[in-house]
Symmetry: C2
Subunit: 614 residues, 2 copies
């Protein structure tokens, strides 16, 4: 018997059915979004990225069910600025997070006025959840709940013990586990399971709404703490690689749980999943100096070589985006915000740095809208344009090769020919170096002061003359002979060519051996607000012929530049007309860092490199 | 009906009964011994010691059931040397453990040839068990099982997370839990419970034998990790005190479990229990700078003021030793070995420093056989004689008062009048200072070099002349102007008056401004093997009139003193006859620390304080 189904329905009921389908379609027009952000995972540390010793079937399957990128970057080589960039679609500098944020209770992290992915989705009717690591602020106003997340569960600092949930990276050793801003205790329970359980519950609780879940998995960040199962699985792999690999499998297993749950709830097809690591693998002592792998790339965590920033990255949206794609086009994690917004049919905010990659993801044959990008972390900076990459002050945390402090201060690579950045082409292609330098200087955070210069040597009356400090020096900066060595400081305050002091004055006496005619004194100083270093507030000099009685001091103020947010090296000038053998120099720094700078409220540092006497 | 029991027994069975009773008596002649050694517990941090905010009913009851000491010391203010002294009955220096032992895998701790309490009891037919913290060596030959313990369960390093059992104090972050030398995993289980369960099982398993159990409880050492129960109990006590107090109650609860078990097994009366803390409370950052309390005493962990070494101490042997006694006599933890041995009827080894206190404990009216004692830790040292206490280079980690680097370098107190050691009587009683100094020098580890001297100033040709380093300096020691400041180094290598280098040469050029006649050069140096600092192996000088061409170097070797185990400050002399403006100085240290020193196999440090040119 054949049944004519249509004949069973009257016209009205057909109309109702069409309405229902329409509603269903409307609901599917607002897909869920899950961003899985792992912690310190190396550039090739997944089966699908070529790691034959790592078992990651669920993530590899995710890659098969979507696009796996080979040239996807993060905007910073360490946790906090990388996360700030992801969540704001901006370069870390524009997101207000240049470097890792503080672990001190109540300290601020990413400024509250930053507009995050969570806020964007919330404003578009989504439920928003954060599970896992935060590391973008300890204060209430910079907490996950204050940055757009309806729900938050996890740790606020950079790393925890997975069983006690204590932060141990620096003292004091403190408990760090919160649910919606309230400290919660799950003593002894494995954090990856606590987080996974909550992720599963979150998608289940919100299955009938559209949701955005930021699942910030705190692995494979140290401490490497695999469970019995994976310890046994990797027992023949040497440590620390074995424990690190076990952690990747621990991630993978939990991503499997999550995808199974999405499938069981019938929302897998309506959920966009993005997977990325926040920065390269760690080579810190706490991480046994390694465990991860950057494969062909040079560099690791904290480095702007490829190994620190070019990382495993996947997007999967079953039945809506192409599957089984390996995409080698250029993108940066700041692009996720406009890209995901576009895929969800949401308008992006205007003042962002990210670009919409949705076309290039939908059709891998189209080119990436991104042809250039910038990075800046500490002294290191990068300008990437097409296949050329120029690094200022490169740092190779993977120790794959030597770097010369002066000759490699500008490091040029052609990534098409040398993916490993082992050969510095700067001297071979000076014109390209100049072009990329110019490009960098066009970027709002690229400054003349960031460009390496030849070490400047100066002849002056005080050169190699005896200098003494009349005040207690900072223990780390006592080599005051560099103040009269005729050389300007190079690279940064920690290069050994700077004398620093925190919240206190510096005072020196220089003995010129005999009376000399003095017409001016220049004080070389550093201004680097993100590292709490500020230009001196006051620079004074007084003069003596006998070293006992001194003239009234002459002085110069530089305080107008204190609020400058840029880094620079400059001098303060004092004009005079004196005959003297002894010069007493007094330098005052700011006592309290003003609002608008990372270290607000703390004492400021002063750093000086030369007292130039003419 | 009355039964005449005697009539039920024939003579033979009565004889058998007497034999049984006799055996039982014989067994009771070999009492069990439990030493409970807590970790970083402050001087007054028990209810019975006056802490009104700490709940410790079980330990307080233990004190009631025995003797509570008010003047019992440990021989060192930090963990490892304190434990070495306890286990050997010797001053830490004689036990081969001057300072905390290394956390590096396979590194040696207390030398294997030390004869421990465990070995003594084992040799006298006891079962011997260690439960808890070890911190006396990571190598197999310095492990608990190699030092006389049949059974061992616990962590080998100085501190662990109580849930993951990871060592986190320094990198790498590594799992640290062992049973009889085999790594065991109890992920997520609370270590105080794991240890307590094993302690209870140990006494149960060995109830029919005599046993010695060293129960080294790893609390209240940071990380402060109380359970819900005690967190709730102390919720109104401010942190860190609340968490610290919770940890003391956690200890107390488990001591309650143990004593209940002894009672249930019927062996409480046949078990000597000694309770002591290993050193004063910690003021380290990891411990939130405090939490514990040294009450009226000055100092805390790492200090030789009373607060670092005069600690809660109890002995209880029900029905065999007097009860409810507060004993204010002088004893040191090195006395436990001969004292307990004596109580158990065991002969002590001869070459120990401890004294038998059993008479003074049995009859609190007799005086203590101890009238003096010595301490030495880092630069600090103490000679205590009767009520006088002289400290060399005192350090007040409790920050209860100021100390003047030079004027308080010798600090004299009369403990009868000033238990708080707040007033330095050294200038008031110079004769007593001299007597105690002489007493200290009679001690085998008291050396002339340990005695503070006035800072020596010297006039010489190089004084205040320009000095430059031709080699990369160690980041922490760059203030090379102190090498020509006319002052000899004072106190220790970290005082800012020393230039150090590890495993590499030092080389300097001194510019005398014009040609001078030079007859000798003296190099001031430090030799401090316990801190890996060794006298230079070679001292060379070459001369130049133009700063370009130098003479053949003249040299002097000091290598014969490398093996000296004592600390000293000395000079190496070079004789010459030169006219020169420029002197190049080269100093070579030992590349590998030889056998017989703590840092064996590592590069050695050189420390120099002045280059004296005449």
């Amino acid at each position: 018997m054949q049944i004519n189904f249509t004949s069973l329905l009257n016209k009205k009921s057909i109309n109702f059915l069409i309405l229902l389908i329409g509603l269903q379609c409307f609901s599917q027009n607002k897909p869920n979004v899950i961003i899985i952000y792992t912690d310190d995972q190396g550039a090739v540390d997944l089966g699908s990225y070529g790691a034959s010793d790592i078992y990651s079937p669920n993530i590899d399957k995710l890659a098969k069910e979507g696009t796996r990128f080979t040239q996807a970057y993060v905007a910073a080589p360490v946790c906090a600025p990388s996360r700030a960039a992801l969540l704001t679609g901006k370069y870390p500098q524009n997101a207000g997070v240049n470097s890792n944020t503080s672990h001190v209770p109540d300290s601020h992290g990413m400024p509250n006025d930053q507009y995050t992915l969570a806020e964007l989705f919330k404003d578009n009717g989504y439920k928003t959840g954060h599970i896992g690591k935060w590391h973008l602020g300890m204060s209430q106003e910079t907490s996950p709940n204050a940055q757009g997340f309806d729900y938050s569960f996890g740790h606020l600092r950079g790393c925890i013990d997975n069983y006690s949930h204590y932060f141990f990276w620096a003292g004091p050793n403190i408990h760090d586990l919160y649910e919606n801003g309230k400290e919660v205790f799950y003593d002894g329970q494995y954090f990856p399971d606590l987080a996974s359980d909550r992720a599963l519950k979150y998608v289940e609780d919100n299955k009938d709404d559209s949701f955005f879940m930021y699942y910030a998995i705190n692995m494979p960040h140290y401490p490497y703490q695999p469970t019995d199962k994976w310890r046994e699985f990797y027992k023949d792999v040497e440590k620390p690689r074995g424990d690190y690999a076990a952690f990747i499998s621990t991630i993978d297993e939990r991503i499997g749980f999550l995808i199974d749950k999405l499938e069981a709830l019938g929302i897998r097809d309506n959920t966009i999943i993005v997977y990325q690591s926040d920065n390269g693998y760690s080579t810190e002592t706490r991480a046994f100096n390694g465990g991860g792998n950057s494969g062909p790339y040079r560099g690791a965590k904290s480095s702007l070589f490829e190994g620190g920033i070019r990382l495993p990255t996947i997007i999967s949206w079953k039945n809506s985006l192409p599957e089984n794609i390996v995409n080698n086009k250029f993108l940066v994690n700041i692009d996720w915000l406009p890209t995901i917004a576009s895929l969800c049919g949401i308008n992006s905010p205007k003042n962002i740095d990210g670009l919409d990659m949705s076309k290039m993801i939908k059709d891998p044959n189209t080119s990436s809208p991104r042809t250039s990008a910038y990075w800046k972390y500490g002294n290191q900076w990068v300008v990437r344009k097409d296949n050329w990459k120029l690094i200022g002050y490169p740092k190779d945390t993977s120790h794959k090769g030597e770097l010369d402090l002066e000759n490699d201060a500008l490091f040029l690579s052609n990534l098409d020919e040398d993916i490993s950045e082992m050969k510095n082409l700067a001297s071979k292609y000076p014109k390209i170096v100049e072009e990329l330098k110019a490009e960098f200087l066009l970027w709002e955070h690229g400054h003349e002061a960031d460009i390496p210069k030849k070490m400047v040597t100066i002849n002056h009356l005080g050169k190699h003359k005896m200098i003494k400090s009349t005040k207690k020096l900072n223990n780390r900066y006592k080599n005051i002979e560099i103040l009269t060595d005729g050389k300007r400081g190079y690279v940064d305050y920690s290069s050994g060519q700077w004398i620093g002091q925190e919240g206190k004055d510096l005072e020196f006496v220089i003995d010129l051996n005999s009376n000399k005619s003095i017409s001016e004194i220049n004080l070389g100083y550093l201004h680097n607000p993100s590292n709490w270093v500020f230009c001196p507030k006051l620079f004074e000099a007084s003069f003596s012929t006998d070293g006992l009685s001194y003239s009234q001091p002459i002085s110069s103020k530089a305080s107008t530049r204190v609020n400058d947010k840029n880094n620079f090296i400059d001098t303060i000038n004092l004009q005079t007309k004196q005959k003297a053998q002894f010069i007493k120099i007094n330098i005052k720094g700011i006592k309290k860092i003003p609002e608008g700078h990372p270290g607000v409220g703390n004492p400021g540092w002063i750093f000086i490199d030369e007292i130039i006497i003419n």
